[in-house]
């Protein structure tokens, strides 16, 4: 087709200014985000943020459907085509899945193209940690309350850096509305953000992540545990300012890791839970005996423990749980939860109730991770209840 620039009529520039389609598309995206938010467990489970350290999560989503009345799929779809075909000819590619009801022109039932939505990890933490907090958290015993500067209200005087331009413009508009023709801005219009000093009770806390990396923990089990720990750590860091997280992994031996290495750790060999618990207890005594912070333990394991370790593990757990505000046990199982209680689970049930508050949760698949986080960090009443049972 011959297309010469000079043949083309000049375009009214107005059209470039605003796109209805783009605006409505943004609205569609907003709605999809809200809808996807309800599928938080899948977002959390499907993320590979731990391995790649990225700050966003990609989730495949369907376009939203605006519903209309539609007939149920035709059992005998038919239509009219055109071309060189005789009765008896067969057209089209066979559909391997052979899904009845998917056939017929127009692709009935397919929800349109998929698109990838990207969520910021911070946003996901926001949704996940809405209303969540550390259970049984107590203000620190002792003096130093922390103070914090918080934004509060506006003033007519203040430092240049705290000038609120939007607010000032509004004042200017108000003034000019009542007195048209006056100056655009006067000193009277300027508004500054006020800061106020607020006392915050200091909540010192230390959280222990103890991970069983023995040979019986498969790659999948480890990944699930780490996903759990990742979202707990990310959430805790956001919620609490003065917080230590201690990362410990064990097989028949136990090691403390820094955060980055902890999320990469793998191991082989047997499982001796008491060694890991002892390591935690030792660290508590060595580092946190004097200033008595809120101590938390979260232990992830598949529940298989060396048969001759039961007594030792009970002893060490009692030691930790006695000091801790809360001791949580996350058991990773393959598929459906087991009917009989595992060794480690029984140890937790027996010791934690007596020595201090705590709870257990079984993660059977990726979708349970979010529920697990919510289970442990929801309400104090639940902890108390579990502690008493």
């Amino acid at each position: 087709m011959s297309s010469h620039e000079q043949d083309r009529p000049a375009i009214n520039g107005w059209y470039e200014l605003f796109s209805r389609g783009a605006r409505d598309w943004l609205r569609h995206s907003d709605k999809i985000r809200d809808a996807v938010r309800e599928h938080l467990p899948q977002i959390i489970a499907g993320s590979d943020v731990i391995n790649h350290g990225s700050r966003s999560v990609q989730v495949p989503v369907r376009m939203l459907e605006h519903y209309r009345f539609r007939l149920r799929p035709d059992a005998e779809p038919s239509g009219v085509g055109q071309g060189s075909a005789k009765p008896g000819d067969v057209l089209g590619e066979p559909n391997p899945s052979g899904g009845a009801g998917q056939k017929g022109p127009g692709g009935r039932g397919r929800g349109g193209p998929e698109l990838m939505l990207e969520f910021k990890v911070d946003d996901v933490i926001d949704w996940l940690w809405e209303d969540l907090k550390l259970p049984n958290l107590q203000p620190k015993v002792g003096p130093s309350d922390e103070t914090q500067w918080k934004r509060e209200g506006w003033d007519r005087r203040g430092a240049r850096s705290r000038l609120d331009r939007r607010r000032s413009l509004r004042e200017s508009l108000k003034r000019r509305a009542s007195d048209p023709g006056s100056h655009a801005f006067t000193d009277e219009d300027l508004r500054y953000r006020q800061l106020a000093r607020r006392r915050q009770p200091s909540v010192n806390a230390v959280v222990f992540f103890l991970l069983d990396v023995s040979g019986s923990m498969t790659e999948r089990d480890r990944q699930l545990s780490k996903t759990f720990f990742f979202w707990v750590a990310a959430g805790l860091r956001r919620e609490y300012q003065s917080l230590d997280i201690v990362f410990v992994a064990h097989t028949t031996d136990a090691w403390e890791f820094n955060e980055a290495d902890f999320f990469k750790v793998t191991g082989t060999g047997g499982t001796v839970a008491s060694v890991g618990l002892a390591k935690v207890a030792d660290i508590i005594e060595a580092r946190y005996a004097s200033n008595a912070p809120n101590i938390y333990l979260f232990y992830a394991s598949d529940g298989d423990n060396a048969s001759d370790d039961a007594a030792a593990a009970r002893g060490e757990l009692t030691r930790v749980a006695g000091r801790a505000r809360y001791s949580g046990y996350v058991e990773i199982t393959a598929g459906s939860p087991r009917i009989t209680m595992t060794e480690t689970s029984r140890i937790f049930q027996d010791c934690v109730g007596k020595a201090g508050a705590g709870g257990r949760f079984v993660i059977a698949g990726p979708d349970d991770v979010a529920t697990a986080v919510r289970h442990f960090f929801t309400a104090e009443s639940r902890c108390a209840q579990e502690a008493s049972t």
Partner: protein, 455 residues
């Protein structure tokens, strides 16, 4: 060849007039391709905002990006009519498009269904739709995005449910049932009725007519008029969507005729316009054959029929057999349903290679023998009732429950339950009373579908 296509417009118009075309003035405007995409998605140059248009818009952009579809022009009937041309059209494209637009303009001025709708207001649909859009923007400011969106979700999901046999400005039903006729029409009764005196007790009370007095298929109008607790701005949104549907229906119901007619005329005008430069003419003819091509290049057959090709073929045949005057009468009186039934003959169908096919379990399609009736029916099947299942209001119960009924017998099967429930949820949010729909399930057993309690 620096000649602007606009320079050729007067000559094309003179020729068209000489050949018997009759149209209201058309304003031509070249717009960016992105705007053409929007017109295709919204159906109107400026239309109310809704997220569902956004989803379709992105889909179209992707399609266009991959080269699947290209829009040359969109024309809106009216006096004056508006024709939007893609700015990326070359000179030869625009010659063809201008001729094509004249065909559409003749069609929309003379086709009776178009005329009827234009007389009722859709002659100014471009302006009306823009004013609806503006009103809805104001509603969003006043009542918030979510509240307005809730209403639009409902109204747009019912946009096919209008009744074209009724006027756009429609009165409420008569409040009272028609008074019963006198039992016997004899002289005695006539004399008795003429006597002075108070009427007997009870005879003065007229019976209230039920609402609706008959199954009502204009759901948009019914809900806007009889919803017990709808805000007036919500009713206005329903009526705005309805007015736009009154404009869309003739476009929809005459698509094959209308595109065929415009294609017939652009081909004929090009053939007879000696003033078009030869290279541009050749390019335009090539463009024409792309537009009316029945099957994609390299394919032997297609599972759908190109309406341009179908309409074009029928009009060529009609003009050849019956002459231009008969063709003009048909263009005035028919719609796609009568057009295909009257003029798609067995011979034409065979010439065009139209065939019936049936879907198989493995997703393939089997070509089957079919008479011309079944071919026509297959082409028209999806177009009945604005392409939507037949649903009507049959009752409003004393507790305000809206009872809808699906005509499963005519449609051949029941409604998709999940989607129906979602639509009922939309409707319930404006009806503000329970909503129920009667249809049949897979085993043709009667079922009732309710809107969810929370909606």
């Amino acid at each position: 060849m620096s000649q602007d296509w606009r320079g050729l417009v007067p000559q094309l118009e003179d020729l068209a007039r000489k050949l018997g075309l009759d149209w209201s003035p058309v304003i031509f405007e070249a717009v960016p391709d992105s705007f053409m995409t929007e017109i295709a998605v919204y159906g109107l140059p400026v239309r109310m905002p809704h997220w569902s248009f956004g989803a379709r818009y992105i889909y179209q952009l992707v399609q266009r990006h991959m080269g699947y579809s290209r829009l040359f022009e969109v024309v809106f009937p009216g006096n004056p009519g508006h024709a939007y041309l893609a700015a990326s059209n070359g000179l030869s494209d625009n010659i063809l498009v201008t001729a094509h637009v004249l065909g559409h303009a003749d069609f929309s001025k003379n086709n009776m269904m178009f005329r009827r709708c234009q007389e009722q207001g859709s002659a100014h649909i471009v302006e009306h739709a823009a004013s609806h859009a503006r009103q809805i923007e104001r509603n969003i400011e006043a009542y918030g995005q979510n509240a307005v969106e809730r209403v639009l979700d409902a109204a747009l999901s019912l946009e096919q449910y209008i009744d074209l046999d009724q006027a756009l400005r429609r009165e409420r039903y008569p409040e009272y049932a028609a008074t019963a006729k006198p039992l016997v029409d004899d002289a005695f009764r006539a004399r008795f009725a003429s006597l002075d005196g108070a009427p007997l007790a009870g005879t003065a009370r007229k019976a209230r007519a039920p609402v609706p007095p008959h199954p009502e298929r204009d759901l948009l109008w019914f809900i806007a008029t009889y919803a017990p607790e709808m805000e007036s701005w919500e009713r206005d949104i329903f009526l705005a969507v309805r007015e736009e549907s009154f404009y869309f229906y003739p476009v929809y119901a005459t698509q094959i005729m209308n595109e065929g007619w415009a294609s017939y005329w652009h081909a004929r005008l090009l053939r007879e316009a000696e003033f078009i430069p030869q290279p541009a003419y050749l390019d335009a003819i090539k463009c024409h054959s792309d537009v009316v091509r029945p099957i994609a290049a390299g394919e032997k057959s297609a599972l759908s029929v190109n309406p341009y090709h179908l309409g074009f073929t029928l009009w060529e045949d009609i003009v050849e057999r019956h002459g231009i005057a008969a063709a003009q009468r048909i263009r005035a009186e028919d719609d796609d349903f009568s057009f295909l039934r009257n003029y798609l003959s067995k011979e034409i169908a065979a010439d065009m290679g139209l065939f019936r096919y049936e879907g198989q379990a493995n997703g393939q399609y089997k070509v089957v023998a079919g008479d011309i009736e079944s071919v026509r029916e297959g082409l028209l099947h999806g177009k009945y009732n604005f392409g939507a299942p037949r649903v009507a209001v049959v009752e409003v119960r004393s507790d305000g429950t809206l009872v809808l009924e699906h005509d499963a017998k005519t449609d051949g099967r029941g409604l998709d339950v999940e989607r129906t429930r979602k639509v009922l949820d939309y409707v319930k949010s404006v009806w503000r009373r329970p909503v129920v729909l009667k249809t049949v399930d897979g085993a043709a057993k009667a079922v009732e579908i309710y809107a969810s309690a929370a909606a």
